[in-house]
Amino acid sequence: MEYSEELLELFALRARKYCGSDSSSLPYDKAQMIMEGILYCIHEYENSNTAQVTNGHVPLKELYDAGAALVMEKVQKTRELYNRIIVDFDDYQVTCLRDTVKKGIPEFLKWYDFRFFPQETILTLDYPVFLDVRSCSGVDAVYRFVKAIELEMTFLKGFERTEIILALQQAVPAYRSMIENVCEIFLQKVIGDAIKKERKACQSEEDIRHMLHFMVEREYNGDKELEDYLFRIEGEIWSRLQ
């Protein structure tokens, strides 16, 4: 492997930094975590828009430094996004949603070690969302999660709070302790109502997507991210109905 020696040199450098003057050695599991942290940062750079295609050899340390800077940037972005959504965040009386967002995320921001262990997600992110948070880890997973919560809150704020809680109550009597997505349950009601109201216009998945598209155009200024998110939820609901 072309990079293997450079990678080990980088590992030695990071491990020495981690140990500081306290220790000259560290256990394998910690060493493995440091190595995973290095690879996480390199992947962060490779998967970013800033990654440049070069023909020449780029020192691994440079890739790592660029990736580490991106991780730090993402932590800041997550913090800003969280601070923005928490102002008018509503848990709709669902404990799992409240605990994950109000208790979990601040703990993550408090304890996340982006210098040495950026791959650690720390949280289990129990509240289920419709952005894929399981395929990634660290700040990538938490950022996606907070983003999903932002989109859900944007959608739900377009409706009356009591209407949402009523829909939850009807779908899941013990809704306060459920570990299910609030948005999914409510969107199911919205789609159900639309089917009842306009039988002819809502006969296929395509029709429902049209209906959601017009709703987002009309009520949410054509928010494309929100539309994509609602399509994901709708896809899940539709496949279940089928």
């Binding site: 080990l8 590992f11 030695a12 306290d22 000259s24 050695s25 256990p27 910690k30």
Partner: protein
């Protein structure tokens, strides 16, 4: 572990050079490590690291170990290599046993103080009693040793009765009866 061999290689020359230097210091106590001794120490250190599933990433602990223990009254040219081998093995073993809660310097300080003190140079007593008790205390959250970097910690934890006047008289009485 592939990375271990790489790190061993890059550390090797630096460690040998540091050990050569430490010879100049230990000469004052009549102790000298031959090149062969150094090679044995290095080889055994790498074996111990593998056995204890650890990676050495900074400057090797060996030269420091040699320097700290060199003024011990229980270290002679005759037992030098054998003792150093045991001490470095204990060092990595107890670094793990103490879950890395203690720094290198604190652990070395503690080992040296007990080796010269209550152990009277007995390595088995150092390993089986002093370090064992200390490791248990550290795992249970004991932190007072940090104030003096591992110095003077053992008397607070020692559960073994020492030969003070009371104990001496009690034992004498027992023997006479």
């Amino acid at each position: 572990m592939e990375q271990n061999h790489f790190l061993e290689t890059i550390n090797r020359q630096a460690t040998l050079a540091a050990l050569e230097k430490s010879n100049a210091y230990t000469a004052a106590y009549g102790l000298q490590l031959t090149r062969e001794d150094m090679e044995v120490l290095l080889q055994e250190k790498n074996n111990t690291l593998r056995a204890q599933r650890r990676v050495e990433v900074g400057a090797s602990i060996l030269p420091k170990l040699v320097m700290i223990f060199s003024d011990s009254p229980y270290l002679t040219q005759e037992n030098l290599l054998e003792t150093l081998l045991r001490l470095q093995e204990d060092f990595f073993l107890f670094k793990n046993e103490m879950e890395d809660e203690i720094t290198d310097d604190e652990l070395l300080q503690f080992m040296k103080e007990q080796f010269d003190g209550v152990c009277y140079g007995d390595l088995e007593y150092l390993e089986g009693t002093c370090l064992e008790i200390f490791a248990q205390a550290i795992r249970a959250g004991y932190q007072d040793y940090q104030e003096d970097e591992g110095s003077g910690a053992f008397p607070h934890l020692d559960i073994v009765p020492r030969w003070d006047r009371g104990l001496y008289l009690a034992t004498l009485e027992e023997l006479l009866l």
